[in-house]
Amino acid sequence: DAGITQSPRHKVTETGTPVTLRCHQTENHRYMYWYRQDPGHGLRLIHYSYGVKDTDKGEVSDGYSVSRSKTEDFLLTLESATSSQTSVYFCAISESGGGQETQYFGPGTRLLVL
């Protein structure tokens, strides 16, 4: 267990509303990631962070923004939710150092956009 929590775990929202998902880690890892998981697509990277205030886009970043003001928290925001953003969102951390970085995942957030 890599000490990763996500909140909320489930959310139902309406199209056009803003939504923020939170990822919290307890072990001071430098790298944090947001993925979405959809049937037939596996996991797709939305955004990742390599330090406080340092973030970069993944392959499906349109419609999403992120912020990392503290090492332990990585927030994912859907500025104006759309039905295509209905998905399961996973946060991950990567242990760093020694060239053997490994990702570990949080429990996920199920988001339904009506």
Partner: protein
């Protein structure tokens, strides 16, 4: 662009049958390779990983994988599956040491019949 292919999308086996799930990646340089398992309703858990050295890697729950560099493959194997192995399996690749991005395959759903 780097990619990971898992050609078997669905696999159905009887208990005690042998398992081999294929994973091929497209990247010519040094790679780090991973297999994750996702049980129904849960998050991804690390099964095994390869960084360097012995190309035959042993993981948890009796799984192993073999890295064949010439074939760009990292297939997952288990000699005798159990009903409890029913899950979705994901192969992932991190290309070299200059990136912290991980590329995932689309997953293979394994159903083991009791």
């Amino acid at each position: 662009a780097q990619s990971v292919s898992q050609h078997n999308h669905h696999v159905i086996l009887s208990e005690a049958a042998s398992l081999e799930l294929g994973c091929n990646y497209s990247y010519g340089g040094t790679v780090n390779l991973f297999w994750y398992v996702q049980y129904p309703g849960q998050h991804l858990q690390l099964l095994l990983k390869y960084f360097s050295g012995d190309p035959l890697v042993k993981g948890i729950k009796g799984f192993e994988a073999e890295f064949i560099k010439s074939k760009f493959s990292f297939n997952l194997r288990k000699p005798s599956v159990q009903w409890s192995d029913t899950a979705e399996y994901f192969c992932a690749v991190k290309a070299g040491s200059g990136t912290y991005k991980y590329i995932f395959g689309t997953g293979t759903r394994l159903k083991v019949l009791a």
